[in-house]
Symmetry: C2
Subunit: 236 residues, 2 copies
DNA sequence: TAGTGGTCTAGACCACATC
DNA sequence: ATGTGGTCTAGACCACTAC
């Protein structure tokens, strides 16, 4: 039954994934149930086992199925509550909204790493690093605060760069590709300095993103972004 | 060159992905460069093209490569700044911290959908829906506020459920599997009611997660979670 | 129109966890 | 011990799009 009907000549795996998803949502296969094994489904759908495998791996990534060797494939009891967050590129975000992008360096100096940042980067506190603070503007309205620490050992060329001309993130992205990143999201009340820089009232709730990037050698940079009040990050 | 050395008998695709990643990070292949096509890499690494395909698709998902038919595969100019956020299960989170989990229903009634929620769910405002408000506790400390709207057409059985016994999310997860979800993250100052329920000062910054789930038929539920001040969501 | 990635197949062997 | 998913192969055809 349920032979793939007039297929778009490609997309069998997607068709099978959709059909399995339909059976789960339709409660035909219930949470915790074991579903037929790949070989059986391959026969059912009239495709190669590799195609079934691809379909089921998709659903497992999605969190709808749990797969274990020998134990078989089961409908997940609790579909994972996962979502992909994309940290927007400030400039693009502002320009997409139709405003001219601008930024201003508040501070740029070599300082000893505070313990909290050192911990994020896996370095020892007190190590001398480059500390940058910037404000990003949409037109003449402040839009986002950026507080960045850069590991000079990871990016020696950084010393020569003039960030008054260039957005630090854009330079890093082009010149120090990263392999791994950690990220967290929280909320904080704007302190007096932040309120002044963002032109808002002290105490307003800001969305905070902390992000640290690494390459094979070690940590590259750790940045704290403070978004304007009301800013919403949309996940897929 | 770079033949996979003494391989673990499986993981050729991962080995190739790692090697390509190394060449990118080592600036051997630079941002915007076109890399050899699949057939060539298959010869280079001494594997089947399907294996190279899998490796490159992995890196493309990761954001390190951009692939287009006919145009070939290029090193991404801006490695996507993506991270997977997982909304924790309240109960697990609290119990993992060693506290007894508890929850209290603040309100449970049928009300017309407000416009903002209706928009999220793709329904018309004013439609009668089930509105639940709960507080989740870690021991006797309030931990999280939940404000949930449920589409009764999607889940008719909901009317009979006694949520004083059961956490609404856990019931929904087991009884109304979803297929698609939207999610966003923001920050807000606690209003008077929220401050009272969370036992904090009015105005403190709260991390807010809005999440709406859908199945093939339509929207199931839309929930607004307000986390305690200081709460951090970690992404991978 | 031709080169590139996307997908599928049929078969094989392997790793692993349960039975 | 054995059944299940994980992965690989060699070959094929197709879809897209830059040329």
């Amino acid at each position: 039954m349920s032979q793939p009907p007039a297929m778009p000549a490609s997309a069998k795996a997607l068709f099978i994934a959709a059909e399995v998803r339909r059976r789960i949502v339709g409660r035909e296969w219930r949470q915790g149930d074991r579903i037929p094994d790949e070989a059986a489904l391959a026969v059912t759908f009239g495709v190669a086992r590799a195609t079934v495998n691809k379909a089921l791996q998709l659903l497992a990534e999605e969190g709808l199925l749990e797969r274990r060797r020998r134990a078989g494939t089961r409908v997940a009891v609790d579909p994972a509550r996962k979502a992909v967050l994309t940290v927007p590129i400030v400039r693009e975000q502002i320009e997409a909204a139709g405003f001219p992008y601008g930024h201003r360096i508040i501070a740029s100096r070599r300082s000893p790493l505070p313990a909290s940042i050192a911990r994020r980067m896996g370095l020892t506190a007190g190590l001398t690093a480059l500390h940058l603070r910037e404000v990003h503007y949409a037109g003449n309205r402040p839009w986002q605060l950026e507080d960045r620490w850069i590991n000079p050992h990871a990016v020696p060329e950084i010393e020569a760069v003039d960030f008054r001309q260039l957005n630090s993130n854009e330079w890093l992205v082009r010149n120090a590709p990263y392999v791994r990143a950690t990220m967290d999201v929280s909320a904080a009340n704007a302190d007096r300095r932040e309120a002044r820089l963002l032109d808002i009232r002290q105490g307003q709730a800001l969305l905070i993103v902390n992000r640290t990037t690494f390459n094979d050698i070690g940590p590259i940079t750790s940045v704290r972004l403070a978004f304007q009040p009301g800013h919403v990050m949309v996940a897929d």
